[in-house]
Structure formats: C-alpha cells, structure tokens
C-alpha cells in the first residue's frame, strides 16, 4: 500500500531551485535510501516533507497516507505519523526531554482521538524505549539535547522516534559524524523499529550505514532529481565508484 507518493516535486529557497521534479513512491514497510553528492538536494527534500517554511514548493504534490501533505503545518504532519531524525538536532536548554516528549505524544494521541497518557504510564514507556536507543536514565530529565555529544544527539533522535512510533521515519544523514559504535546503536534502534506498517527513508552520503540498515531500494539524487534507482547493490556501486561518474553522466540532465 502506498504510504508516501511524491509527484514532480519542485522547491525553491530564496528563489534558487533546489528540487527539480522529484518522483518517489514508498509503500508501507519498505526501507528506501536516498544517496547523492553534497548539494544534490537531500536535506531539502527532508525539509520540504516535514514542512520547514524557508522552502517554497513551486510545483508537484505529496500524498501521505492518502492526505495532501503539503497543505499541513509541520505539527499535523508529525501527528499523522511523519518523523524526521535531524542531521543537526537543535539544543533546547530548559525544556526537559521528558516533558517535551509527553507533550508531543499527547498532542499526537489527541489528534488521533485518544486520551492523554498519564505521567506514570508515560515514564514506563520512556524507560522501555530508552533501551532501544541505549539511553541513560538521566538523559530523560536533561534539557533536550542540552550539552549532548554528537552521538548522544543522534541516539536521542532514535529514542524520540521510538516513543512517537511514526509511520514514516526520515533519517537525514543520521550517520554523519558518528563513530562505528554509535552508528551500530543507531542502526540497531532502527532495525528494532522495523515493522510491516512502518517505512523508512534513509538519507545518506555514504554507503556505510546501509551495511547495518539494509534498504529495499536505493535512489540517487542529483541536481534536485532522482537520476537512478535500484536495489542495495546500487549503493555498493556508488561506494566503489564515487559520485563523479554520476555528475558526468547526468550533468546536463
């Protein structure tokens, strides 16, 4: 069943065209990887899908779970089941992880017609999910990402994903800046969340992460378009040959 359907998506930032007609369909339970050289539009795609206001969509449609995604504010997209693990998660001193996540979960539950979850029950969920992202208890009461190392921030993203249980999780270069141990923790977290009703869109520059999270499909993004699609073998080919041949082959496209 189609969960996300992107058709001819074009987007600008400050009148500069970054996305130049993206077509992509993701079904429930699938893992898709998007690879591409720097500046190809990977992060822009993630930002447009989650509703960052700096980007203007100039053409195309995005259907998410049968609804017009582009019409919705970011919070509504999240409540519908879209999640972005940020490349650079922001630090929010003074807002505790626990308070923030309980509020987020309850807003989502309310949207879906469920009663708010009580603090005690919520803490139980948090303790459970903390195991998935290998998060220490004191993490939960600290400020959101406040003073966290790069690896801790990425683990916190996975932790939030585990709490919010999205239908589609977009991981935006979650592997960047991680050492191999942290990378494994993140990958294990994602694999623990794999489910026939949950899809992933993994944005990465390197093939390395895909050794641990094996994708069903790999797409190559270049100059704001998907220029190649294939299976996991395509990622290996890119790893071996680099991006230069893509640049040469599709430079005029």
């Amino acid at each position: 069943m189609s969960l996300l359907k992107i058709t001819n998506l074009k987007a600008n930032i400050e009148n500069k065209e970054i996305l130049n007609g993206i077509n992509l369909e993701i079904n429930s339970g699938e893992i898709h990887a998007i690879m591409g050289p720097n500046g190809s539009g990977k992060t822009t795609l993630a930002s447009v899908l989650t509703g960052k206001k700096e980007f203007q969509v100039t053409d195309g449609t995005v259907e998410f779970d049968g609804k017009n995604l582009l019409e919705m504010p970011p919070e509504e997209r999240a409540r519908l089941g879209l999640f972005l693990a940020f490349q650079y998660p922001v630090e929010i001193p003074g807002v505790s992880n626990a308070n923030f996540l309980r509020l987020a979960l309850n807003e989502k539950r309310k949207y879906n017609g469920l009663d708010p979850i009580e603090p005690a029950a919520f803490f139980k969920i948090m303790r459970e999910k903390a195991k998935i992202a290998k998060i220490e208890q004191d993490f939960l009461t600290r400020g959101v990402n406040e003073g966290f190392s790069g690896g801790e921030k990425k683990r916190n993203e996975i932790f939030q994903m585990a709490i919010l249980e999205p239908k589609l999780a977009i991981l935006d270069e979650t592997d960047s800046g991680l050492d191999i141990d942290a990378l494994k923790i993140v990958a294990e977290g994602v694999n623990a969340m794999r489910d026939p009703s949950r899809s992933f869109l993994i944005i990465t520059h390197y093939q390395r992460l895909l050794d641990y999270i094996v994708p069903d499909f790999v797409h190559v993004l270049f100059n704001g378009r998907i220029v190649l699609s294939g299976t996991k073998e395509l990622a290996l080919e890119l790893e071996e040959k680099g991006y230069d041949w893509i640049k040469e082959e599709f430079a005029t496209a």
Binding site: P73, P74, R77, F83, V90, I92, G94, A104, E107, L164
Partner: protein, 422 residues
C-alpha cells in the same frame, strides 16, 4: 488631581506646621522646585508617564477593607499561608489583622531620615533627586516601620499591598524595614488590586540589613489591571549581610521599579533575580543601582524579560564601584525575548568603576523565539502555540529556579506553564 497639578496644589496638600519633620520640609521644597519628570530626563527617557498624566486621581482613597475581604484575598490569591500576613490597604497599615510574634514588631512612626549612604552618592540616580520619593514623603507623612529582632529565628512575612477604591486614586505606601543583627527573614511585597478604577501606587521603602542579617526579598506584581506602580526601594546592607532580591512582574499596566542597593561595609552579598512579562500595552521598567562602597562585596544580577504584543520593557542596570571598593565582584546579565514585532525593549548597562582590583561584567542580549527550536518542537507534533509556550517557559525557568521561597515560586511557575493545551 492630575500628576502635573500637584505642584500648584502643594500648599493645599501640605500646610506649614503639619509637621516639623525636616525630611518632609525638604521634600516639599523639592516638589516646589521640580516638575514631574519627562522623557528629557535620562532616567525617564523610555518610561513615558504620559499615560498617567491624563488621569484625575483622588488623593484620598476611602474604601475600607474589612477582615472578611482579607480572608477572601488569602483564599483567592497565591499567598503562602505559613507566613505572617501584614495587610496594608491603600497605603495604610491594617491594625490587629495579624498575630503578634516576638520575632518582629511593627508600628507607625514619623518618617525616618534617609540612611546617609543612600544620599548623594550617585549624582544622578540618587533617591535625593527622585521626584516620586519626595512626593511619597509629602503624601505619606508617616511610615510603617517593621523591625525584625536580632538573633531571632527565621521568619516569613508577606506585606500585602491592597488597593481598593471606587474612584481613581493615588496611594503612597511608605515602609521601612530593619533587619537587626543576625536576623533571617523572607519578606514578600505582594500587590493586589481590587479596584476597578485606576490606581497609581507610589511606594517608597527603605530596608536596612544590619550586620550578618539575611534577607530573601520578593516583589510580586502579577495580574494587576488598572494598576500603575512606582516602587522606589532602597536597600542598605551592613557588614556580612546577605540579600537575595527576587522580582516578578506580569500582566501589569505600568510598573517602574527602582531598586537602589548600597554595600556600606565589607563582605556583603546581593543576588538579584528578575523576571518580567509584558502583555498588551504594558510598560515594565526595572532600574537598578548598585553601589559598591566598601571592599570585598559581591553582587550578581540576572534579569529576564518576555515582551508580548505591544508591551515595552526597560532594563537599566547601573553599577558604581567606589575607589575604595577593591576586590569587588559585580556581574550583570539581562536577556530578553520579543514575541511580537511591536514589542520593545530598551536595555542599558552602566558600569562605573573607580577601583582597579575588581571583577565586573555585564551581558545584554535580546532576540526573538528561535525558529530552529520552534520547528524542532513542531516537527514532533507540538502545536505552534504550545511550542512557543514551552520555549518561553524554558527561557524563564532559570530565573524562577533561583526563587528559594517555594510557596511563592510554585504559583508563578504553574502560572507560566499554565495552559500547555493538550
């Protein structure tokens, strides 16, 4: 009577022979020779009194409060009940409304001479040149004198400044507090306005901390509609005394707080925390003057402001380190968030340092709600409104965490976090 009509009516307000108090005579003289301050005066540059100028105030707020209404206030308003509550209605002490206690005494006295240290030190900011100090002196004529006895056990006191009047009224509370040697008190000035008419409250208060006294002091101005207040508070600290001053202003039309602090001997400490939140067209002005007169004293200020709608905030923090005040530590931070394009903040540090072996710093920063943080929260499903509230709460929390009087802090905290709607 309007503010600018006071001068021409001085003879009516104050008849020669009413009192022989030299203080009052001096103040009458000052008022004869000076006009209501306007924006040409540096200390009033951004604090426009024009919204007050047009109001016709009665100087004689008659409405009486009875014990019943006090009881009701105590139930309604967030007032710590394990404290001694001293109600002051329209500037007048309500006698017999609190129980006697051997840790303190309270009485009405002739107005005491200003502490010599509070006079003439800073040439421009001294209370000696403050119009509203003199006006208070002339109109109050007597002062409420609260004495915290030496070596007494810790005590918690709430001074409830209640205003109630059926007409626009000008009230002049005058309070002097002396904390004797080795005393330890928590004292809150809590303002409550029951009046539907306009109230202008012009308070002057001098607080003296004797040797080794400890004071945890609060000024709470919250939810005061139709209320405009000028609060001149002078605090004089003697050797080894410790002050924590905490101020919270929220939802109040016009507030001018001028806190002047004098370290008159060595080894004094003062920590000043302030949180102010402006809404609608509120104007909130925090002026602070700290005079480090003697060596080895420490002051630290943290003031934070949230300015919504078309509110205006003013922060003016003067620190004067006298030539003799070596080994001074004086730090000041002011941070502000504007949540609207129409809100304004004027912030100014003024450090004058005449000693060479000191550590002084100041930092002022003003910004809007951080877009990255806002988007992060929204991307997790939190509504824009709740995300903003969460961020403002986070901004405020490090000031509030410094409020040590839990029964005062908690209602403010819940007030601020109120209505995170789910």
């Amino acid at each position: 009577m309007k503010l600018n009509e006071i001068q021409e009516n001085l003879n009516f307000l104050y008849k020669d022979g009413d009192s022989n108090e030299r203080n009052i005579l001096e103040s009458v003289d000052f008022l004869k020779n000076n006009k209501v301050p306007n924006s040409k005066i540096e200390l009033w540059k951004y604090t426009s009194l024009s919204s007050l100028q047009g109001i016709d105030f009665s100087l004689d707020a008659k409405e009486e409060l009875n014990q019943l209404s006090i009881t009701k206030i105590l139930q309604d308003k967030d007032i710590p009940l394990n404290s001694i509550i001293i109600p002051i209605a329209n500037g007048k002490l309500m006698n017999n409304s609190f129980e006697a206690d051997d840790r303190f005494s309270i009485e009405i006295r002739e107005i005491e001479k200003l502490n010599e240290y509070a006079k003439n030190y800073h040439p421009l900011q001294s209370v000696e040149f403050d119009y509203f100090y003199h006006l208070n002196t002339v109109l109050a004529q007597k002062e409420i004198h609260l004495q915290i006895h030496k070596n007494s056990d810790p005590i918690q006191i709430v001074l409830l400044f209640i205003s109630q009047s059926d007409r626009n009224s000008f009230i002049s509370p005058r309070v002097r507090i002396e904390l004797e040697e080795n005393s330890n008190a928590k004292i809150a000035y809590k303002f409550i306005n029951l009046s539907e008419s306009e109230i202008l409250s012009n308070l002057f208060s001098e607080i003296v901390l004797k040797q080794n006294a400890i004071l945890d002091f609060y000024v709470i101005e919250d939810g005061l509609e139709n209320f405009q207040a000028i609060n001149n508070i002078n605090i004089v600290q003697e050797r080894d005394s410790k002050l924590t001053s905490n101020s919270f202003t929220n939802n109040t039309k016009f507030i001018r707080n001028f806190l002047r602090l004098y370290f008159t001997d060595e080894n004094c400490e003062a920590i000043l925390n302030g949180l102010f939140i402006g809404n609608n067209k509120d104007l909130i002005d925090n002026h602070i003057l700290i005079e480090h007169i003697k060596p080895n004293c420490h002051s630290n200020q943290l003031y934070k402001g949230i300015l919504n709608d078309s509110s205006i905030g003013i922060f003016n923090g003067a620190i004067l380190v006298h030539p003799n005040a070596q080994k001074t530590n004086a730090f000041q931070t002011n941070r502000n968030i504007l949540t609207s394009d129409l809100a304004k903040i004027y912030t100014k540090p003024e450090l004058e340092i005449y000693a060479d072996d000191v550590k002084c710093s100041h930092g002022e920063a003003t910004g809007f709600i951080d877009d990255e943080m806002l988007f992060y929260l929204r991307s997790r499903g939190i509504s824009e409104e709740n995300a903003k509230k969460l961020l403002l709460q986070a901004f405020a929390v490090d000031v509030l965490n410094k409020f040590q009087w839990v029964e005062i802090k908690e209602p403010i905290e819940s007030h601020i976090s109120a209505n995170l709607e789910v």
